[in-house]
Symmetry: D2
Subunit: 151 residues, 4 copies
């Protein structure tokens, strides 16, 4: 299963800590983590996933594969700028949004439009987003919605 993690390229310490824990839990469940491959929530969640032995995919906005953060195993260089967000949403089986500003809202809305489920952690409260209080709760919800047994 591919779990998308979306959130800002910059974020406060608490959001980054939650992103890292979320990444760790995703990998712990044997799922792939897919994100935007850059800094902030993208980097922290990928770091967490790598620490737990997972596989990370980064869909980059720019044409250079080497612009990915150091925790990305499979960097995909798109050169499509923000258009790369649509690829993350299309590829993920479910998305976890952590913090974030307008860019994250845009991804949440696009995910809901395409009928992908979105779990929200300290993010925009839009009708349709499933609110979670902690990374553990967010990832457990994701596993349940995907019909996976949790560990």
């Amino acid at each position: 299963m591919f779990i998308g993690v979306i959130g800002g390229g910059t974020a406060g310490a608490e959001i980054l800590r939650m992103a890292e824990e979320t990444g760790r839990l995703i990998a712990g469940h044997g799922c792939f983590l897919i994100c935007g491959g850059m800094g902030g929530v993208m980097e922290s969640s990928a770091k967490g996933a790598k620490e737990a032995g997972g596989t990370t995919i980064g869909i980059l906005p720019n044409p250079d594969r080497h612009s990915a953060n150091p925790y990305i195993d499979i960097p995909i260089a798109t050169s499509f700028g923000e258009g790369r967000n649509l690829i993350i949403v299309r590829t993920a089986d479910i998305l976890i949004a952590i913090g974030g500003e307008y860019g994250t809202l845009s991804e949440i809305a696009f995910a809901l439009k395409t009928e992908k489920r979105v779990i929200g952690l300290h993010t925009w409260e839009i009708p349709g987003v499933i609110k979670a209080g902690t990374p553990v709760e967010a990832v457990e919800m994701a596993m349940e919605l995907l019909g996976q047994h949790t560990i």
Copy 2:
């Protein structure tokens, strides 16, 4: 000036009426209308603009230029699906959102992320969206924000 009109591919009668009036007013101010080129708010706003002698541009999701609604002067066939929404936002000087669901929210959020101003008519109330009550008010606001003298 290029005024983007964003809104759903299907919409109720009152929203469509507002879209048509908005299109008419945009053309009346000598501005180009740019939209997604398909049905609903896109079609009604383009119809209004054409009735007032304006020029309409439709950025289509699919590869066939002839899929545009009949009120589009310049249909652009992208084959990029929802990715075409980014082109509307990038090209418009300012956007007017009318009604709409998740797709419109995604465009609003992307516009705000890229620092384009968004005027909202009976749409999502997101921080940063400038709320207008009527098409006249929406278009007057747009003209003022663009530094244009109103007629």
Copy 3:
């Protein structure tokens, strides 16, 4: 009808002269000219079209509408880099390739793949490209293939 003109962002004087004449003839036939909106063949062909009173559309690689050359009436800002070439091919009814290097070859090949006809003026000689010797011949061929009476 929309005639696509493709060619390099830089080119020699003779190629640029042919591009300008081609643009002038396209406009003289009442057709819209669509191109990549930047310099070289794109700029010269748009200049010719404007001199003959035509309408020009430029599909730009970058997110800024104001990066278009000064002869573009309808600049479309995509932020999709080279991906914008696909939009030119999809939107055009027929394409005229003038000079050009690898970028032009890529557009020619993509056009042929999507079953758009391509007329070539001093460009790559690929099976499927219809070779013309002069701008007059290229535009006459285009009109004939589109079933338009020539002036």
Copy 4:
């Protein structure tokens, strides 16, 4: 290292056999194989890579990750149609073109434009393409150009 394999969605038996062997050799050198994820040369090369224990990435034209051929480990769903070809070229360190028609030519040209090296096996003979006679020769050339010791 990421080796891109490009070629037609349908192909004759000899081309498919070469694609499979090429995939097997790429994996044997410990490289990732990236391709368009669909049938023909894409499927045969991915099959060969999987048989040799490699990792395969498929950049899909459509929005459904499950449309990938069965030999793709990491399917990326883009919904960008042919625009996905640019992502393959941008992400690969070097490309091997096998057989192919206009779509392959378009990718070859785009790769050369962006200064990626292209090795050709029974494909278009365009200036800049490095011609190889066999899969072994193609993959050895790729490794040498990438500065890898061959096995």
